[in-house]
Structures are given as structure tokens and as C-alpha cells.
Amino acid sequence: MASLRCFFRSGRNAISVVLRREFHKTSPATLQVTVRDALNQAMDEELERDERVFLLGEEVAQYDGAYKVSRGLWKKYGDKRIIDTPISEVSKICLSIIFAIFFLSLTPPGCVLYRLTVMCAGLRPICEFMTFNFSMQAIDQVINSAAKTYYMSAGLQPVPIVFRGPNGASAGVAAQHSQCFAAWYSHCPGLKVLSPWSAEDAKGLLKSAIRDDNPVVVLENELMYGVAFELSDEAQSKDFVIPIGKAKIERPGNHVTLVAHSRMVGFCLDAAAVLAKEGVECEVINLRTIRPLDTDTIEASIMKTNHLISVEGGWPQFGVGAEICARIMEGPAFNYLDAPAIRVTGVDIPMPYAKILEDNSVPQIKDIIFSVKKTLNM
């Protein structure tokens, strides 16, 4: 079963939804759902629940989404709720932000009741980037108009907006389409940054993001879209949300803490399975949220295992791993470390195209295993 899970997680196969309903008294009914379908469900449910939610982006409507994440939504909700935009990143973001705060300037200030009404009257856009690489064209708006506005207005103008799309490396898409923006967005106060891994993460986190009254960046992963996971009964519910800012321990262990986000969580679990055969039990933490970072969970884990390795797909300098290491240094868990905390990251180069070069530009399972062994002095 573990190998089957490895198989699913590594994404080597795109597995379509397989319904497995077991009418068994003891085991709960689970469903095999791909990350793509989980995201689709999350948006579908939130669009249904709240009239103010709508989706805009390139090819999201009639094309069913560049990666088919919004498949069927335009047919169900129509032009008003699912909007195809021209290729204009900056205006798309601007318009979304304005939609989110729209009614605020039209009503007279002063009344608390009006403020509540007005916040409810603002729309709640989901703004899709075809990939986060294109968000660089509009990043000024994301930071300066979305992230900072609530602060600059001293609480007058919240910006309930979700930016979502695939982030990080894909397969053979070369330097301009493979960058990880986790560190870029997480650097900024005023933004929340989520990075789901499994289908459950995708669904719960996206729903939380849509319901959150603040700008939230959801960093998906194109290579994970087609990967299927078991979705528990609880996760299938229309009110299933995952709290923002809370990491999840995917696999408990005693010897070393592996902290990762997105696709690398799967790699860590695969590495852990291999290491378990040699008697090394890794505790794998799925960050789920990059900002705000769940330092407590990481610290508690280090106090148990005494060793830390962070794993990410992005570049090392000023990255997610760098932040984790810095926080551990500054906090109580430092005294529990038996060895320096280590980062496993992408290679510090623009992403090459040739397969052999690309494969060697991102962490592989063997790199994680190697780092664990070095850290544990094996």
C-alpha cells in the first residue's frame, strides 16, 4: 500500500477519479480525487455558497482552464461569475482588487454597521494566473495594492482576494516558466501564502483562502494536478476547511524532521519510506501555509527528533528553508539541535531545458536521503 501511495504521489501517472465506495460499517467511505478535481470542487462549492465569489483569468471560462482546473464552471455559472480576460496581468489584478473593495468608497464613513455591510458588499474575486511566472508582471499590484492596503487605510479597506495558479518547476518548460515564488510572496506582510500538496490540502486550503477576508496567494503545482489522493469523508463535506497557518504532520518519526511544502512533501515521504528500511524514522511535516509559518509545529518536532532538514523546490538564497532555519536559530528549539539545520533546495541556476539538466536542477529523493544520512552522521 505504501508503494502504491508512493506511486500516486510521485505523479508518474495521471490517474483519473476512481470511485470506491465501500459500504462497510467500520471503514469510512473514501474517494480517490485528483488535486485538479479537488481545486475544482473547492471553487464550485464556494461559488455556490457565496454570490460575491467569482473567478477571472486567461482561458478559465470557455477553454475550461489552461490546465482544466476550472472545467465545467463556466457552463454552470455563466459569464458573470467566470470571466475570460485578455492577456493583461496588471489590469486583471487591478480590476480584481477594485472589485474586492468596490463599495467601500461609496458610502459615508463613521458607522460601524455600514462598515460591516460594506465589507459584505465587496466582491470576493479569485484571480487565476496561468502560472505564477506571469504574476511577476503584476506583482506590483499584488504587493502594493492588495497586500498593503488594509494597513495603509488603518483598517478601512480590506481586500478579500485570492490569487491562485501553478507555481514552481514543471516538466521541460525552461527558465522563464519554472520559477518558485514562495519566497517572493512570503516576504511581504499583509499577504497570506498557501502551498497545498494533497487533494485534501488543495480543497481545504482553497476554501479557506476564498473565505478569508485578506489577500491570499495559493501556490499550486502543475505536476500535482493529475495526482490522485484519498479524500476522507470529512474532506468531502462542503464545509471542510483547513485552517490557514497550521502545518500537518504527514508521517510521525523520531530521528529527523523533514519540513517541506507542495510537491516536495511527496518526495520526503518517499525518502522516508526508503530510510525506514534502514531504521531511520523521519517525521515529515507538510507546511501547508508558508505565511504565516507554523513555527510551533516545527519546533515541537525538533524537540523530539533533534535534527532538521527543510526541503523545497525553489532557489536556496533567501528561500523558505532559509527562513525556517533562521527562526529555529532564534527560538527555543535551537538548543535541541544535535546537528546544524540543513536545506535541500533547487540548484542555484535558471532552469535548463534538457531533461538530464532539468532533472539535476531540482531536489531528487536521493538528495533528501543523502542529506538525512549526512545530518545523522550515517
Binding site: V173, Q176, V347, Y353, I356, V362, F370, S371
Partner: protein, 401 residues
């Protein structure tokens, strides 16, 4: 006389004036079945071309174009190479030998070849990601281009760039981010003006990119500083899956430059494109500043290899363009009906082209991948060797300029 042994009719150019067509008989001997002299072929002809719609221009390009036999054969050959190369790339992609993004140019050959014939090799050109055709016209070989698509060390970017990042002398790619190449093109034009070598920059973008804000910023600066820049919008009617009507408040892309004069050109007619480009180049070189050309063209493939291209347009539409406006067919018909070339001659060119593409594909599939030592090279220019962090702190990789 050297013997050409083939069952097909073959040609022998004897001296400079006579073309003999042979065929093998059942007994194996060769007989001359036809004999034509170059004197039989029309050395050049004048063709009427479509009038361009003009914006802020008193006069446009001429309404007639002169085509010589040599030019015609050269354009035909280049367009055919481009067509076959793209179709071969399609095949290799489906075999998973090419991976990632692959945006094919077939249908738009008249644009690339026409533009190149209207400018000098010393001029500059930049385009977006549908760039294989331009890489070819700007001096890349088919072998280099295909080996880049398959990610091998013989690729024009040593396998590190891929489909969207091919470069050559005076050709600045191959750019993946929509619209980003336009300000870059204006920058090249600024450099041209600065260096005073009477060169210009051709800056291409598509109908999808035409709605990008940075393009309008570029128009402003190019016009203000009178940069020698030819902006060219290749309007193939669809930005990925979005038709122009659904994306643009105004689909008169040649007018979108507002204060920049513009012309709308039939992008399926290579002579039209060539004359318009010459006109535009003359405009720039005379110091009048930038000019905008909209080429009305069409792509047969979808946006990229992952787009079947039929969810937002009909097969009938594609078929109609193929049968009525194919750029290669248009040129071929013109040449044949004006006796500038024979059907057989063009067929022979086709055979040669096919062979060239096969040879290039063979190279592209057998050439080895780049060596791992190359992974971290080319980060900085003109820099002493440095160390690059690998995936973990113990992996110290070497980087050379």
C-alpha cells in the same frame, strides 16, 4: 555526363541553359522525355498585391511586386523547410522526444520569410515564443533548431533553452513571457540609433499580446524618441483559445499605435509582406521613427502542442484557410502559372527539403544530451569561475562564464 539513377523523372542541368528530364524505360535505358531551357522559364514577373489599409500614412507600399525566379525558388524552399520542420517537430513531440512547450508556426511562413526578405541580415529581430521560423530565417540551421527542441548539446542554445529560448546573431529570441519582448525590441532599436549604423529592429508580438500595457508604454517611448523600430503584430486571430473579438476592444491592431503610423498587411502573401516590410524599413531608416505593421495570418496548429486547436474554432475554418490561403501554395501557383518554375522542379525541391529535415531529425534524436558539467555554466558573463550551490550544502558545483 554524370548519371542520375532514380526511377522518378530527374533533371540534369547541362551548362547554364538547358534542363533535361530523364526517365528510365523498361529496358533500363534512360531517355530524355523533356527538355527545357532556362530561357523557357520567365526570369521575373510582376504581381498585383493587395492594398494595405493605412493608418496615419499618406501613402502605402506599392500595389505591385516584382519577383525573380531565383527569389521565388528561394522563398519557396525556405517556406517549405519551415513547414516541414514544424511538422516534424509535431511528430517528435507526439513521440515524446520533444517535451515541455512547443508552439508551432505552420501557416505563418510567409510572415517570417517575407520579413527577412525586406530587411538586411545586419538588422535586428525579436519575437515571442512561436519562434522556430524566425530562428531559421535569422541564420539558425534546421539541425541546430531541432536539436534544441530535443534538448541536445548540438542545439542552438546547447540544449539549455528549449523551444522558446533560441537565439542567433541579431536575433534576440524566443521569449516566454507574453509581451515582454516588445520593450526589449524598442531597447534594441534605441541601441541601433545610439550606434548610428543605420540598423533597425523588427519587434514582433501576437494579437493576444497586443492588449498588454507594456506595449503601449513602448509605443510612447519609441515614438517620442523616434526609434528605428518596426512593430509587427502577427494577428493569427486567436490568443491561445480566445478569439480576437473576445479579447480586444479594437481589433484594428495596426491602429492601436495611435500616434504611430500603421499598415494592415495580408500575412499569407509573401510578396505583400515583403513589400510592406521594405516600406516600413525605409520609413524607419529615413528617421521618421517607429511604424506598426499588422500581418493578418493564421496558424494551423493549436496554440501549442497541448492544445488541439479545435475547441475554439472549427475544422472547417482551418481547412478553408489551408485550401484557399496557404502561403506556400499561393507562391507555388503564382510561379507555375507564370512559367517561372515547373511542377517537377518544385517537387524536387520538396524531396530535397524532406531529406534535409529527415537528416536534421536524425541528428536531433541521436545527438547526446548536454554534459552535466554544463549545468551551472553561463550564469554570468565575463566572470571568473565560481561555485554554485547544488541541491544540498555538500553539493558544490562549478560555474564557468
Amino acid at each position: 555526363l554524370p548519371s542520375l539513377i532514380t526511377p522518378l523523372p530527374h533533371f540534369l542541368h547541362t551548362g547554364a541553359t538547358r534542363v533535361l528530364m530523364f526517365q528510365r524505360t523498361s529496358t533500363g535505358s534512360r531517355v530524355v522525355v523533356a527538355s527545357r531551357t532556362y530561357a523557357d522559364f520567365t526570369p521575373q514577373a510582376t504581381f498585383d498585391i493587395k492594398k494595405c489599409d493605412l493608418h496615419k500614412l499618406e501613402e502605402g507600399p506599392p500595389l505591385q511586386a516584382v519577383l525573380t525566379r531565383e527569389e521565388g525558388l528561394q522563398y519557396y524552399r525556405t517556406m517549405q523547410v519551415m513547414r516541414r520542420m514544424e511538422l516534424k517537430a509535431d511528430q517528435l513531440y507526439k513521440q515524446k522526444i520533444i517535451r515541455g512547450f512547443c508552439h508551432l508556426y505552420d501557416g505563418q511562413e510567409a510572415c517570417a520569410v517575407g520579413i527577412e526578405s525586406g530587411i538586411n541580415r545586419t538588422d535586428h529581430l525579436i519575437t515571442a515564443y512561436r519562434a522556430h521560423g524566425y530562428t531559421l530565417t535569422r541564420g539558425g540551421t534546421v539541425r541546430e533548431i531541432m536539436a534544441e527542441l530535443t534538448g541536445r548539446r548540438g542545439g542552438i542554445a546547447k540544449g539549455k533553452g528549449g523551444s522558446m529560448h533560441m537565439y542567433a546573431k541579431h536575433f534576440y529570441g524566443g521569449n516566454g513571457i507574453v509581451g515582454a519582448q516588445v520593450p526589449l525590441g524598442a531597447g534594441v532599436a534605441l541601441a541601433c540609433k545610439y550606434q548610428g549604423k543605420n540598423e533597425l529592429c523588427v519587434c514582433l508580438y501576437g494579437d493576444g499580446a497586443a492588449n498588454q500595457g507594456q506595449i503601449f508604454e513602448t509605443y510612447n517611448m519609441a515614438a517620442l524618441w523616434k526609434l528605428p523600430c518596426i512593430f509587427i503584430c502577427e494577428n493569427n486571430k486567436y490568443g491561445m483559445g480566445t478569439s480576437v473579438e473576445r479579447a480586444a476592444a479594437s481589433t484594428d491592431y495596426y491602429k492601436r499605435g495611435d500616434f504611430i503610423p500603421g499598415l494592415r498587411v495580408d500575412g499569407m502573401d509573401i510578396l505583400c509582406v515583403r513589400e510592406a516590410t521594405k516600406f516600413a524599413a525605409e520609413h524607419c531608416r529615413s528617421g521618421k521613427g517607429p511604424i506598426l505593421m499588422e500581418l493578418q495570418t493564421y496558424r494551423y496548429h493549436g496554440h501549442s502542442m497541448s492544445d488541439p486547436g479545435i475547441s475554439y474554432r472549427t475544422r472547417e475554418e482551418i481547412q478553408e484557410v489551408r485550401s484557399k490561403s496557404d502561403p506556400i501554395s499561393l507562391l507555388k501557383d503564382r510561379m507555375i502559372s507564370n512559367n517561372m518554375a515547373s511542377v517537377e522542379e518544385l517537387k524536387e525541391i520538396d524531396v530535397e527539403v524532406r531529406k534535409e529535415i529527415e537528416d536534421a531529425a536524425q541528428f536531433a534524436t541521436t545527438d547526446p544530451e548536454p554534459p552535466l558539467e554544463d549545468l551551472c555554466n553561463h550564469i554570468f558573463s565575463n566572470e571568473p569561475p565560481m561555485e554554485v550551490r547544488g541541491t544540498n550544502p555538500w553539493a558544490k558545483l562549478k560555474s564557468i562564464s
